[in-house]
């Protein structure tokens, strides 16, 4: 029995519907939900916390269905993109807001503890209106964490912050969550959140979860073209030509590709390759060690700061490659040039 299980959750809002959605989390899991805008991420969170009533389905938290409980009885915390601090209270009063029926000095201790771990202890007497965005969000996080919620929901908590602040808060949050072992569902558009914080990732599209699993799995083994595009992987259908010595030979259009993953001969399978696991060369390298090597034509090159996104074609098949600046500097490719792409057979993944 999972800690949280959302079962067959359905809601119909006219133009939009959640369709029989399922989601399972274990205690202490940090799950991220990603998906295009309008896919229902916020609505899912509002259902779990109780501001939207689903038409069907159940939300079982610690073995009890809470779908008919009032929001204040659920013990679920929420953090929004716009902080939602109470403007008439000080930072201290905001953080202490959920601590009730506890002795004054204990409240003080708890608030000071959490404020210290989020580095806002010097702001406790200020009003939220006088704080920077990052300080406000740390206050909002402190407010929802100090009560030790059974489940913490976050709806794009860092979207309004600049990258530097984001990184800093991510780190602080990570430490607090690790210490408290809070179970979290975090909606985000920023893949960095996934890598820095999450154990699990779920991909939502048009009110349905189409893949849910460990973050690495979702990135390395997207179940369909949509997820692959979303996480930036190349994705093809292929048929299994032959198998030998633990290597599967896959036929993919006008060329073949080798994989260490298993599949039966004649089977039609899906193949995914991560762009950052491909190496590019000017000339075929000597020592291939059994890796795949393809002669490609460069289509497009784009510098994205720390990485170069190179789009190449093997015959008519498009392949995305992410390369570091360092690796690119020896190549200086232009569109139309020929480059050799090398892919380890370990990195050619067969998805089911």
């Amino acid at each position: 029995m999972s800690y949280l299980s959302v079962e067959n959750l359905s809601i119909n809002l006219g133009e939009f519907a959640l369709k029989s959605l399922n989601l399972e989390l274990d205690q202490g899991d940090y799950a991220t939900i990603i998906g295009p805008t309008g896919s229902g991420k916020s609505i899912l969170l509002e259902c779990i916390i109780g501001f939207f009533t689903p038409e069907k389905g159940s939300i079982i938290l610690e073995g009890r269905d809470i779908v008919n409980d009032l929001p204040e009885k659920r013990g679920i915390g929420i953090v929004y993109q716009d902080y939602a601090l109470l403007p008439h209270l000080t930072v201290f009063q905001n953080i202490a807001y959920g601590l009730r029926k506890i002795k004054k000095n204990i409240i003080k201790g708890k608030v000071e503890d959490i404020a210290a771990s989020l580095k806002i202890e010097h702001l406790l007497n200020r009003k939220p209106g006088t704080l920077s965005g990052g300080e406000q969000q740390r206050t909002a996080l402190a407010r929802s964490l100090v009560v030790n919620p059974r489940l913490l929901l976050m709806d794009e908590p860092f979207s309004a912050l600049d990258p530097g602040t984001r990184k800093e808060i991510r780190q602080l949050l990570c430490d607090v969550i690790d210490k408290k072992c809070t179970t979290v569902i975090h909606v985000t558009h920023d893949m960095k959140d996934l890598w820095a914080l999450a154990d699990k990732a779920a991909i939502l599209r048009q009110g349905k979860i189409i893949q849910c699993g460990a973050v690495r799995d979702v990135f390395e083994r997207p179940v369909n073209k949509f997820v692959a595009d979303f996480v930036g992987a190349s994705f093809w259908e292929a048929s299994v030509d032959a198998k030998s010595n633990g290597i599967t030979n896959l036929k993919l259009g006008d060329f073949n590709i080798f994989s260490k993953d298993n599949a039966a001969q004649g089977e039609i399978v899906k193949v995914a390759v991560r762009p950052e696991e491909i190496l590019l060369y000017n000339a075929p390298p000597d020592n291939l060690n059994g890796d795949n090597l393809f002669k490609t034509r460069v289509e497009k090159i784009k510098c994205e700061g720390d990485v170069w996104a190179v789009s190449v074609k093997i015959g008519d098949t498009k392949l995305l490659v992410n390369s570091t600046r360092n690796m690119m500097s020896g190549l200086y490719p232009k569109p139309g040039d020929t480059l050799y792409a090398r892919i380890d057979t370990d990195h050619v993944r067969i998805v089911r």
Binding site: E72, I78, A84, L86, P87, Y97
Partner: protein, 260 residues
């Protein structure tokens, strides 16, 4: 100097002209009688009676309006129920209604023998009585207060209330701890407008409570009665008091509006 187009010129001249005309009309109120006449009227038995009655009926009706308008405004702002737009339209109706018609409707309703009998047993009688004044003022002022309070709550992000509830506060506790404190200046504005509106209620009071001398005589009635007797200083003095009270009310209102 910068050139200005004809439309911009109209936009500047028109409000100045309007304000000037209005101001002139108000000032003339203060110029007609002598100070001695005003003083004498102010201390007359009739004026003191009217002033006292106006103050306590208006205070009472304002308190009642407040108690009803706060939950009503909150409900209209936050809760979706069947027939809500109808309810909103009907509550607002007295704003557009002639006061006399509102008075007549209330008279017919509360003058209905069955209802009059029922309220009589509870110790209430609204027809041609001081209680009637409060009732008339209440219904006249209510829609203004409800409007202001509803729009005040509209401005408070519901997320603040959601967060409060997620932290264990019931809907009512959240209302007390979050919604009300944040609506403070709107509530003040609504109270002031309700009070100003109550003090100035004439037609509704005249029909429901009757405008009888030293009985159900509030300031607007004093003004009206004395005009018909030809006693200008008394009429003008009640006018001056009404103007001063409204002016103070508007000043406070503008201030509280600015701080919303």
């Amino acid at each position: 100097m910068r050139k200005i187009g004809w439309f911009e010129a109209v936009l500047i001249v028109l409000p100045i002209f309007l304000t000037g005309a209005l101001l002139a009309a108000i000032i003339s109120l203060f110029l007609v009688p002598t100070l001695a006449e005003i003083w004498e009227s102010l201390l007359s038995e009739e004026m003191l009676f009217s002033l006292k009655l106006t103050m306590w009926t208006s205070s009472l009706s304002t308190a009642l309006v407040f108690m009803v308008a706060v939950p009503t405004g909150y409900s209209l702002s936050r809760i979706n129920f069947w027939g809500k737009s109808m309810v909103k339209a009907i509550i607002d109706l007295p704003i557009a209604f002639p006061e006399l018609v509102l008075g007549l409707c209330l008279l017919l309703l509360f003058g209905n023998p069955v209802l009059q009998n029922f309220f009589g047993r509870l110790g209430f009688d609204f027809v041609f009585t001081k209680q009637g004044i409060v009732l008339a003022q209440f219904f006249t002022a209510l829609p203004y207060a409800v409007r202001i309070i509803k729009s005040t709550f509209d401005y408070i992000p519901p997320r603040l209330e959601f967060v409060s509830r997620s932290l264990g506060y019931s809907m009512f506790e959240t209302f007390l701890k979050v919604s009300l404190p944040l609506a403070k200046s709107g509530l003040l504005a609504a109270t002031i407008i309700a009070f100003a509106r109550s003090i100035g209620t004439f037609g509704t009071v005249l029909i429901l409570a009757g405008g009888s001398y030293m009985q159900t005589e509030i300031l607007p009635i004093t003004l009206y009665l004395n005009i018909s007797y030809g006693n200008m200083p008394m009429a003008i003095t009640s006018g001056i008091i009404l103007v001063i009270v409204s002016f103070i009310a508007i000043l406070i209102f503008e201030k509280s509006e600015a701080s919303i």
